[in-house]
Symmetry: C2
Subunit: 290 residues, 2 copies
DNA sequence: ATCACTTACGGGTGACGTAAAAATC
DNA sequence: GATTTTTACGTCACCCGTAAGTGAT
């Protein structure tokens, strides 16, 4: 049995050229490398070096051995990488959604209840989500409609309501509800990663201009220091403190309410039962708190 | 750095199913395997086992790790095999010839002069020899004619004379030379691995019957205890003691004298210069001793 | 009671470093 | 004189075995 430290020293000798350089590179002393190479030769039963008086260089055997050793060590590090990656994948859940709402709602709960798991989230269009779910890139995805697909398993999630965020001096600031047509033509600040909501507001208010902001901090600053209209939702309002200089007015249009459904692969239903149960509780609790 | 003994124990656990069985298989104690597996887990930083109270089985991480480990250990033993094979190839010379004569002449000299080298010899037809020489299966081959081929390098070898080995009571026993036609129709004992000689005698004495013997000892016994004619050559007579009950009469036909030429690949001319030099000396010395 | 695994403790191999010598550049 | 390699010797890590303990079959 050839231990790995011998192979490591062999490749170091090959790459560094001399025993002393290899020993330096490995933070070892020269006698150690000398001894290891001698041991390697006796283990294989073959001479690996041309030993001149002041110089020991790898011969053909040694060159071949070093090349093999390199591959073996690469395979070793690949092994730990693969095992670690597999382990991570077991302790990681990747969730995709068509809008941030379900994720904002779910991820803190997941993090609290499954402290050993990492949660990755992404906002993507529905077609991308479904494709990625089927190939296992996502464990769960949130869509805004129900699909009949035997290869998928789904549970209903919560609803999300869209709000207009208007300055207090706005002419509609005292309304209890607004409609998209009321605000069509208004300028809006728009967060870049709102998924389906961007499609809705652009479609419903085609005359409006949308100032897209990709940084949440900047967006909040601009909301505070300007009188440009913006958007929020009931879910977002639960997690972030509402602005004191603004009024929050729900849209009364039907499409301003999104009902989410959570999907996983049918084969994984057993595997993700705890997660889905949590979603069921959430969906059941949400209406009562609403 | 993961040492190989850990990988070895891991695959043993995978194949044997339990730690205790693995320890038995490796001639180790159970605590040793337990400790090694724990060490492996800390080195990779990942749990490899589902630890029940009385049973420790590989989990998915462990299965993957064991599979990788198996490949790594296979690569290790392959490395040893390859290096040893390469080393052997440097200390081995494989010689092919169209007849045993040149080999009988050369191999003892090679063995004496290059004690660290192994010499393998084979008797094959000319076309096989040339093909095998070109692909490096032989380092040198002996043919009975000169070829003009720039990819090959050749030196002339010795001559070999065919002799008839007749019982002393044979009607031609007192002849100084014989011809193939003199003995055409005679029964002959024939050693099976004489290469080109078999072709010659069958062609030149088509009416003769040849009793082929593959075992040299049996052939000698039959020669001693019967009066069946046989063959020998000057080279063979040099190395084996001639029979006291037989007379050795050279064939005077032209084709009963073979002139050998030794070939190696032109690209290997430098490599096999010492061998070729030895052949040159042999060819130069042979006529004077003849 | 037996089996499977783990923990704790002691021993011996061996891997490493230090020191020194030989040889070459 | 500086560099490279090798040998000799002492030390310490660590790998293994023995013994003991726990829990399950």
């Amino acid at each position: 049995m050839i231990e790995s430290y011998l192979l490591e020293q062999l490749v170091a000798v090959d790459t560094c050229g001399t025993l002393s350089a290899a020993s330096e590179h490995l933070h070892l002393t020269q006698p150690t490398v000398t001894r290891s190479m001698q041991k390697l030769e006796t283990l294989i039963g073959v001479s690996l070096f041309d030993r001149r008086k002041n110089r020991t260089v790898l011969n053909e055997n040694g060159k071949l051995a070093a090349e093999c050793a390199r591959q073996i060590l690469d395979a070793q590090s690949a092994m730990v990488d693969r095992v670690r990656a597999l382990d991570r994948s077991h302790h990681t859940i990747t969730i995709g959604a068509i809008s941030p709402g379900p994720i904002m709602e779910l991820s803190p709960l997941l993090a609290a209840r499954f402290p050993n798991h990492a949660v990755f989230t992404e906002i993507k269009p529905e077609d991308v989500l479904l494709q990625s779910l089927r190939i296992g890139l996502y464990q769960m995805v949130f869509l805004n409609r129900h699909l009949e697909d035997p290869s998928l398993f789904s549970v209903p999630g919560t609803k999300e309501h869209l709000y207009a965020v208007l300055p207090k001096g706005h002419q509609l600031a005292d309304r209890r509800t607004v409609t998209f047509s009321d605000l069509n033509g208004e300028r809006f600040l728009l967060f870049s990663s709102v998924g389906i909501w961007e499609d809705i507001v652009r479609r419903e208010m085609p005359r409006s201009r949308f100032l897209v902001q990709s940084d949440v901090e900047s967006l909040m600053d601009i909301i505070e220091s300007s009188d440009i209209a913006a958007f929020s939702t009931d879910i977002a309002m639960r997690t972030s403190t509402p602005s004191g200089t603004r009024v929050y007015i729900p849209f009364s249009d039907a499409c301003a309410v999104q009902s989410y459904f959570c999907y996983c692969r049918a084969v994984d239903e057993q595997k993700y039962r705890p997660w889905l149960q949590m979603l069921g509780h959430l969906a059941g609790a949400a209406p009562s708190s609403d």
